[in-house]
Every structure is written in C-alpha cells, then in structure tokens.
C-alpha cells in the first residue's frame, strides 16, 4: 500500500479450460500482463481476434518502475483507445537542468513541435499505466487469467503447449501462437534455452519515490558529482500525485538490502532536498541493468516482445516504449497470418524490423550508460572534460548524455517497403512512423492519426481513389479535402504533398510506399509487398 495509490486486487477465477480437464486450443495466448502484454492483448481485441492473457500476479506493477512514456507509445495507446486517461493523469515537464557539483552548468527547454495530439512524453507511475490498460482490456472483453503461472512451454510445429500452475492446481492448454511478454527474466526464453546476449553492468542504482509536501518545480534535474552524493550521479523526475522519482547511482559495491533501508535513504534525501524539505518516502528499490537481446524475436510459433526480447538501460526511457512498439508491429501481422491473408514469412519481418529497432535502442542506451558511468580513467577524463566545457561552450552541451529520449525507429531497410521512385523531401520516407497533424472533420477539430484506423490506408492529397480490395485485404482511401480538411496545412507540409500525392500506410501507421500520382497497379503491388506475399 502506498500513500498515494491503492493497488487493485484482481481475483483468480478458475477457467473453463481448467474445469473441463481437457487440453483446449487458443488462437493467441499472451504470457505476461505488463505494459507490453496488455497492449498486445488490447490490440488483438481491437482487431477482432480472440485473445487470452496469463499473468502470475494479482495486481499491477509494484512500484512506479518505468516512468517516462514517449509520444509514439502514446500514439499507439491512442489507437488502442486508452491514451486519454494516461495523458490526463501524467505530468509533462519542459525544463531540464544539468548540474555539476553545486552548480547548474546549463538548462534546456524541450520545445516540442506543435500540431501533434500527443505530448513529447509524459511521466506517470507504471501502476497507473497498467491499471488504465487493464480497464481498457476488460472493456473490450479480453480474458485475463490472473494468478496463473506458466511452468512449462513446449513448442511444436503448429502450436505451443503450456503447462500452467494456478491456486487450484495445474492445467495445460495449447496456443496456435504464443506472445512471450514475460519480462526481462522471461521464463519462456529460459524454457526455450535461448541465449540473451549483450553487456551486463555492475553499477547499482537506488530509486526512491517521495511525496513532496511543498511545491517543487516540475523540472528534470540531473546532477553529475552532486555535493550531497559525491563522485556519483543523481536524477530527479516528477510523477503524478506530487510524487518525485529520485535515482541515485550507487556504484558496484553497494549492498542493495542495506541501501534500501529508510535509515539509509532518508539522510541521502535530506542532503539532497535540504533540511527543511518535508517529504514522505513512498517506495524504494535498488536495481542494476543489462543491455542485451535475443538474436531473433521469432522462434517458430513463439513471438518475443518487450523486455523478454531485449533489455536496455533505463537512460532514455527505451524499455516500455520500445516494447509497445514491438506489439504495434506484431499484432497486425499476426492477424493477417491467422486470417490466411499473408504467409508466415510476414512474421519474419517482425523480427527484421524490431531487431533493427532494438539495436538502435541498445546503441543509444549503451552510449548514455558509458557517459554516466565511465568505465576507464580515460573515459572518465573525456566525460569530465565535456562537463568542464559545457558551462561555457555550447558545443559541449550536445555531448552531455544523460539519456537520449526514446524516438520511434524507422524501418528504412525493411523488405516490406516499396522504395521511392518519385522525388520526395521531408521525413515521411517508407518505413517511417506517420507524423500527426491537426485536421478538421465535419467542422470539428481532430487529428490525422486518429483517422488512419487499424487497416491499410491510402492517404491522398488530391482526388481520392476508390476503396481497393487486394486479395481479401481492404485499403481505405482517406482524402485531404474530402474526408478531412488540412486546417493548418501541416499534413501537406509534413508529408511533402503536391496535388496527386498518395501514401500507402500500414495498419501500424508506418509508411509502406508513396507516389506522386495514384497508379492502382503500383498500390496493389505495394500492398502485396507489405504483406510479404
């Protein structure tokens, strides 16, 4: 029980499967009810597929854990119909300050681009996020089996058999497809004997959530070598309900059990916040992290997503944010395969595209880690030199790396893309996630991304072509001027449109292809290519 939050308790109900005693087959089973598993379940339900989710616990995330949710993740949750309460409850910061010892060396303002529905990111405790996701999943009729722990995973050619332990004993079921979203210590991954390759870091970090009793500015503060915690680093971040996340780097030799004790934590906080600051300790945890991933995210009928597939350092908020992009990439493909509209090869593109994204995230998070925790004397000398210079010389501020905040990956070399044959400027190249823009629909203000739906869309700037049926797959036209007014002309600008320009957009809102004129044959070919047919 926290002072600002009461954990919901989800009940165990013995399932029909277990009661029947027979081994029943399900089309899709998800293991793990964290942000990634829940998002996958909601997406499948939104796409009209039956889904079963298994989670071994009976409540949401214990502790605030992941705290920053980036724009692209919020856009995905908006497509899934649950971003509203997250944005309402979450907090937004704009000013970041970087301190060294007792001095502020510089500050920066996040100046997010206008004309996007979702903010650059929000800070929100993970338990709230999961609660909003659970509510959405329940509203969609997703079957969640709480307190059911997978104890055996046996892959076969055309299904996976699971053994499950429940408060009423064990039972078994089969899944045509299994989404393993069972986290960094993934049991599924262990059961399949898969290697999780990468770097293990020894530094321990202490996180303390405190409830502040007086106003404190909504800013992100990062200290190198703070006077209250010499030779280390500290991060201060705001969350909902006046709760502040304070993250102390402890170094490799700290004893996690000792460090977690209030009599150890409170003096650290006092030294940092000042003798007069009034606060209550909400939650404390000590963590280490790894930067590593699976070689492949698809193993036959088992599809790994989120931390089960790849683990990054927390710097840059690339864990949960990239995990949700995994499921965003996966679910429409799985649907097409299940419905017989695409070959299984389409799922290999999940592997290609998301392994590429994971590499990018690992690269960024490893770089931040090397800056924050230099591993050699020379590395430390350069890091300190950057900080020495940053106060006076603007160039050095761009080298300061206290985390590069999560940006969505572009699948630039994906086999699903149809390469440009016409001239285009701007960011919306094949493989890019679509940019949002304010639009007007029937006289009301709206957003471009909200108009894209969950299938293939043909975004047209000019005469709208008819709806296309491409071997059982529908492509809905969406025309500027007919279906929406490009009220601030930002859609035209962001998509570098001229009269006649069209974009083929995938169900996950990534660009599949674009042309200056609509040639139906080319669009059909691009749809087939985007489905690996």
């Amino acid at each position: 029980m926290l002072k600002t939050y009461g954990y919901p308790e989800f009940a165990f109900h013995q399932s029909v499967d277990q009661k029947s005693g027979a081994v029943r087959r399900h089309p899709v089973v998800i293991v793990g009810g964290g942000p990634v598993g829940l998002s996958a379940a909601i997406d499948l339900a939104v796409q009209g597929l039956p889904v079963l989710l298994l989670d071994q616990d009976k409540t949401v995330s214990i502790g605030s854990r992941a705290v920053c949710y980036a724009k692209r993740a919020l856009e995905i949750w908006d497509r899934l119909g649950c971003a509203g309460p997250m944005v309402d409850k979450g907090v937004i910061w704009k000013t970041g300050k970087v301190f060294r010892r007792d001095r502020e060396i510089y500050r920066f303002d996040l100046l997010p681009e206008d004309g996007h529905k979702m903010p650059a990111f929000i800070n929100l405790q993970q338990y709230y996020l999961e609660e909003f996701l659970v509510r959405r999943a329940e509203a969609l009729g997703v079957e969640i089996r709480w307190r059911e722990k997978v104890t055996g995973v046996e892959p076969a050619d055309d299904h996976v058999r699971l053994t499950i332990e429940t408060p009423r004993g064990p039972y078994a079921l089969e899944a045509d497809w299994l989404i393993a979203a069972d986290g960094a210590r993934s049991f599924t991954r262990q059961e399949l004997g898969l290697e999780f390759k990468g770097q293990v870091f020894n530094d321990r970090f202490l996180i303390a959530d405190v409830v502040m009793k007086a106003d404190f500015p909504p800013e992100r503060w990062f200290w190198f070598d703070p006077p209250f915690h010499p030779k280390q680093s500290t991060l201060l971040h705001m969350q909902a309900d006046n709760v502040w996340r304070i993250d102390f780097k402890l170094g490799p030799d700290a004893d996690p059990e000792e460090e977690k004790k209030p009599e150890r934590v409170t003096p650290r906080l006092r030294a940092m916040l000042g003798e007069d600051a009034e606060f209550d300790l909400e939650w404390v945890s000590v963590y280490t992290f790894q930067c590593r991933r699976l070689d492949k995210f698809r193993h036959g009928r088992v599809l790994f997503a989120g931390d089960a597939a790849h683990q990054v350092s927390p710097f840059g908020a690339r864990g949960a944010n990239s995990g949700v992009q995994d499921t965003d990439n996966l679910v429409w493909k799985l649907k097409a395969v299940i419905e017989g509209k695409a070959p299984e090869a389409l799922l290999d593109s999940y592997d290609t595209e998301r392994v590429h994204a994971a590499r990018e995230n690992l690269l960024n998070s490893t770089r931040s880690t090397d800056f924050i925790t230099p591993k050699s004397q020379t590395s430390r000398a350069f890091r300190d030199a950057v900080l020495d210079l940053a106060e006076k010389h603007p160039f050095a501020r761009r080298l300061v790396n206290s985390g590069r905040l999560s940006l969505p990956a572009t699948y630039a070399n994906s086999p699903l893309n149809t390469p440009d044959e016409d001239e285009f400027a701007g960011a919306m190249a094949p493989g890019c996630p679509c940019a949002d823009a304010p639009v007007e629909v029937e006289g009301k203000a709206g957003w471009l991304l909200n108009m894209l739906g969950n299938g293939f869309t043909l975004l047209c700037f000019g005469a709208a072509p008819r709806r296309l049926e491409v071997d059982g797959v529908t492509v809905e036209p969406l025309a500027a001027g007919r279906d929406f007014a490009d009220s601030e002309e930002l859609a035209a600008k962001r998509y570098d449109s001229r009269p006649g320009t069209i974009y083929l957009i995938r169900p996950d809102q990534h660009v599949a292809g674009r042309w200056r004129n609509c040639d139906e044959a080319k669009v059909r070919a691009a749809v087939n290519r985007a489905l690996a047919r």
Binding site: T378, A385, V386, D388, H393
Partner: protein, 64 residues
C-alpha cells in the same frame, strides 16, 4: 584522404613549445583532463566526421 597531414602550422616550434608549456607543473591527472578538453575543442572546430575519423585512425596506428 581528407585529413591534412602535410605541414600546416606556420611556426611549428612555437606551437610545440606552447603545448608543452601548457602542461608545466600539472599532475598526470590534470594533464589528462587538459588534453581531453583540448581534443574536444579541436574536434568541434574541425566538425567534419570524415576528417575526425581519419585523424583517430592515424593516431591509433602504433609506431613501428
């Protein structure tokens, strides 16, 4: 090769002396820090990643 390795400093002895003078009376640690700052300032002035990469490669070559 974009990196200029032909003589480019007008009075090389003056430069060399100034460089050594800069480190006079500094501890090993202070010298290390100073060198790091100097490299960063020079690297930013050059800016061109190709030149920087070539310089890093040239510097990494072990003398025979």
């Amino acid at each position: 090769m974009k990196l200029n390795t032909k003589p480019n400093i007008e009075r090389p002895d003056d430069f060399y002396e100034a460089l050594i003078e800069l480190h006079r009376d500094l501890s090993e640690e202070q010298s290390r820090q100073l060198n790091a700052r100097l490299i960063l300032l020079l690297a930013n002035h050059i800016g061109d990643m190709e030149v920087l990469s070539e310089a890093m490669e040239a510097a990494a070559e072990e003398p025979e």
